[in-house]
Symmetry: C2
Subunit: 197 residues, 2 copies
DNA sequence: GTCTATATCCAGATAGAC
DNA sequence: GTCTATCTGGATATAGAC
């Protein structure tokens, strides 16, 4: 959870300071282009202290990843509570993802864009994680309730969220000039039209 | 072009042998988890010889990337010639991408999945490359000819191809049991419905 | 819990004979 | 063009005082 409180103040406990710095460096330069020395320099926490809090460099990435997946899972669970229909829920998820990308691009970049398996060999792919499962469930419920056409549930979920996720990639790559929310209406119309009965 | 002739026979010129080996290792273990020694071992080409053909390790990745982007650009240009309407062209592109993913998953993984900017700092993002530009053009022509609803061309292209690209990711991640062509009809129906007038 | 100093290793890259 | 042998730097990780 620690990282959700970005930006981190100077007197933050060492562990949080390290995680916040690592998130920035990992997304800016990539995991493998970031040395532990870089983290030491930018975080102001010493090597010894870092290895006291984390088993190794991979341990930093794992802690970061777990924090952020949990953070996102909570956000999507909240959306589920605040909206009743599959239509409204799916739309709210995309809106939330777009807003998060603008507000905290590094979090989204690390979660959606990084190749976790390269530096966390035994981690499950991100699309198996809880938030993605929740998103697939929302679509599945739409099919079961009859507002969506019958098809392979995985294909349906991909149709609903695939375009939005690509847009996030384009934004993180600097291809889109305007902030993502400016595209929300058009993206959502396409997404829903692709599966609506 | 050299890599399109996979698998490489034992008496292939050294350069091609290195590229074929690098493609396999980079996709299986990742660029940073692959040492030049690994390439030496698996390719049977010596260190000295490798550095004679390529400036450095990054040079191997760059040559590979350029080869594969050109290869894919040609494939898409062919599709453009063989099909007349935006509808048929876009569908044929998705079909081609699905087939390529099954036939040569490593090529697709390296092109679509790898984080090129991490190891080729000055490379343009893959979505700026010629093949992606060609795909966006197909969609743009559909909008200009009136068969697609008017909207931001980038959003439209993302709606048409975004779902298919996500499906490819899922397949490369091992999430889909069935080969991609099994999903082609449903994916395409969603894609086209999302933008058709 | 935090720090400095340091050990160890292996990566990328080169030299120079053939 | 290809090879073997080698250099050098910098990376991860540890030791051990405070």
């Amino acid at each position: 959870m620690s990282v959700s409180a970005l930006p981190t103040s100077p007197d933050t406990p060492a562990r949080d300071q390290v995680l916040a710095t690592a998130l920035r460096l990992f997304t800016q330069k990539g995991y493998f282009n970031t040395s532990v020395q870089d983290v030491v320099r930018d975080s102001g926490v010493s090597t010894g202290s870092i290895y006291h809090h984390f088993k190794d460099k991979e341990g930093i990435a794992k802690a970061l990843y777990d924090d952020l997946v949990a953070h996102m899972g909570t956000a999507i669970a909240d959306i589920r509570k605040q909206h009743k229909t599959p239509h409204d829920r799916c739309r709210a998820v995309i809106e939330q993802l777009f807003q998060m990308t603008e507000a905290e691009p590094e979090i989204m970049a690390f979660m959606l864009y990084a190749k976790h398996r390269e530096f966390m060999p035994e981690a499950a792919p991100i699309c198996s994680s809880k938030p993605f499962e929740q998103m697939r469930n929302m679509v599945k419920e739409g099919m079961d309730s009859g507002v969506l056409v019958q098809m392979d549930p995985l294909v349906a979920a991909t149709a609903v969220f695939g375009g939005a996720l690509r847009m996030i990639h384009l934004r993180l790559d600097g291809i889109l000039e305007k902030p993502l929310p400016a595209y929300l209406d058009e993206v959502w119309q396409c997404a829903w039209r692709s599966v609506a009965k």
